[in-house]
């Protein structure tokens, strides 16, 4: 059975092993199937707002999720369905958030990729790019202050987000504090429609590592083996106390920025180049080559994934939407400090 629980544990030392690979592949497949389902629900008008897929980025993402273990911190970004599943997020959390179910972790208050469970180490992104890294720093800082060692925090980020001040401040902060941060940078060649050439001028974003005094790791983001190895090593280094690790993966977003976007701006040469390979196909081919999976296995895994996703969607579609009248309209945990306004207000005072 595909593992979507936290016990998966670190993978560095066994990253080329059969079991790890199959597990990783099946998580990638599940993520792809789930993403595809969101895309079709979007086309059917069943989803409010945008849908953001991780197509083409599953190998990198799954490697992050699998390299972490229980008690670690994970701040995924918009293309990390695979990493989320690998880290232990349930399919239901994803579907409930996309469909706005009141039973989901965000209770319909926030949607799509803006979800998480902070107390389980899964940080729910805010939209402002770069802003989650310092939050991961804070969790790691807190662990150290509490005397807890061995925690790793992984934050995912895109090429475009490296241009934010928040990215810079947070990576530098992690370096100064020597925090066990693994910053996983998916260089998918575009930020929305903006190509790398309009985003940065260094040869490779890996060139940034030295400037922060952190270790840098480059990896082919289309190659699951490489991702498992490199991310696994980076996580191990961070866990061993060697400070922040910057992983830069080369790959291509094999979808629009969101499902509303046909992405005709993507350079066709890139699509046919090595970064344009579909990591899922590459991984599948590798399993075939190693004879680790038969066609029957592959087909069975796919149908199982489809079935799990369909079940989850069917379940969630029967769940209650949030009820504005039952909603507690306060942003404060300190209820007694909530102010009343407008229609709730007592109205003109008569004396």
């Amino acid at each position: 059975m595909v593992q979507t629980v936290l016990e998966t544990g670190p993978v560095a030392e066994e990253s080329t092993s059969r079991a790890t690979h199959i597990n990783a592949y099946r998580l990638m497949l599940l993520a792809r199937v789930l993403d595809d389902k969101f895309a079709s629900l979007y086309r059917a008008g069943k989803i409010h707002g945008g849908v953001f897929l991780g197509r083409g980025q599953e190998a990198l993402s799954v490697a992050v999720g699998l390299s972490l273990r229980e008690g670690d911190i994970f701040a995924p970004l918009i293309r990390d369905q695979a990493g989320r599943l690998a880290f232990g997020e349930s399919i239901l959390d994803a579907v409930r958030t996309y469909l706005g179910s009141s039973l989901g972790p965000m209770r319909g208050r926030d949607g799509n990729v803006h979800r998480g469970r902070p107390l389980q180490g899964l940080l729910p992104m805010i939209s402002h790019l770069g802003a989650m890294i310092a939050v991961v720093n804070g969790t790691l800082f807190a662990r150290r202050m509490k005397g807890i060692s061995g925690t790793v925090g992984a934050a995912c980020i895109g090429d475009g987000a490296t241009s934010t001040g928040a990215f810079h401040e947070a990576l530098n902060q992690a370096a100064v504090e020597k925090l066990p941060l693994v910053l996983v940078l998916a260089d998918n060649q575009y930020a929305y429609s903006t190509p790398n050439s309009r985003q940065f001028a260094c040869q490779s974003l890996l060139d940034r590592a030295a400037g922060y005094g952190v270790a840098g790791h480059g990896v082919d983001g289309t190659d699951l083996c490489a991702c498992l190895n490199t991310v696994g090593q980076a996580v191990a280094q961070a866990r061993a106390g060697h400070g922040p690790q910057l992983v830069v993966a080369q790959l291509l977003r094999l979808c629009g920025h969101g499902e509303h976007d046909v992405a005709d701006y993507v350079d066709t040469k890139l699509k046919s180049s090595p970064v344009g390979r579909d990591c899922l196909k590459v991984a599948e081919e590798f399993l075939r080559q190693q004879s680790w999976a038969s066609e029957t296995d592959l087909a069975a895994w796919r149908s199982e994934a489809i079935q799990r996703v369909e079940e989850a969607v069917a379940t969630v579609q029967r769940e209650p939407a949030p009820d504005p009248f039952a909603e507690e309209w306060t942003a404060l945990s300190s209820r007694q400090l909530t102010e009343l306004h407008d229609e709730e207000s007592p109205g003109p005072v008569d004396i």
Binding site: I47, H48, G49, G50, G100, M106, G108, R109, D110, G111, N112, H114, I126, S127, H128, L129, G160, A161, S163, T164, G165, A166, A191, Y192, S193, T194, R198, Q199, F200, Y265, A321, P322, D323, P324, F325, E327, W329, T330, A331, T338, E339, H341, D342, E343, G347, P348
Partner: protein, 321 residues
Amino acid sequence: MSVTYLEAIRAAQARALAEDPRVFIYGQDVGAFGGAFKATKNLANEFPGRVLDAPISEDAIAGLAVGAAIEGLRPIIEMQFADFSTVAFNQIVNQAATLYWRTQVPCPITVRLPCGATSGSGPFHSQTMETIYAHYPGLIVMTPATVEDAYSMLLEAVAIDDPVVFCEHKLLYYHLKADALPTEALPVGKARLAREGRDMTIVTYSAMVHEALAAADELKPEGWEIEVVDLRTVKPLDTDTVMASVARTGRLLCVGESWPWGGVSAEVIARVATEGFDLLDAPPQRLNAKDTPVPYHPNLWAAHRPTARSVAAAARKILRQ
């Protein structure tokens, strides 16, 4: 031919680029792609080298605009969503807004903010920020509610020698249509009487103008004639027009989509209460979004913001007094 609010914004930018060589546009994905909302569609093509993609660096985008303005250019910068202007906040309120006062050198930049809640957008793609910017000296804050104003006010924003925060409402982008682009406009800083009435004044702006007008429709069969004032710019705020309307109706409801604490509606009520107290026949009231982040789910979203229905309900309370 009909033209949408969004097309008007695009047309205004095209015209500004065509008529004034000092104008350029800078922002994420505004170039060949035409912007996240297509507000700059084809402009990079039509005006080569003058519509440029920026890195995801809102602070530096705004900072660059100020530098270019010092050199006499008229930058229009687009924030992909108003919400993201929080990371350009310092350059807008401390660099752009203070330049003229400190140095006598004007800072003619236009900051386009796609604002406001739309269903399914959630806490970080829905914010209106007029309250925040209007608080700062040195900024003009425009909040057009109509296709005509979107067009003419954006042209004015570019022409004005001071930094203008131009709050476009995303909910109006595609739905709101006019027959044609306007050929004349009210002066900057003048509010508009969107509807005349004798029983009560609703003061509002941006997308809420349409909720207020719908509320006025709803109240008409009940015998009430509601006057609706569209502020157009919230800073400067046209107190005279507001006051004149309240003088006619004696009753005031202010409606804003921003959060309740210290919003436009507080400012309007404070002005009327301090300067036009005796004009009021009943306590003024206000209606705002709820004091939580903007929710994602349509059910919650619809309850979070003022709607024609809640505006009408609030109006009835006042009318009954």
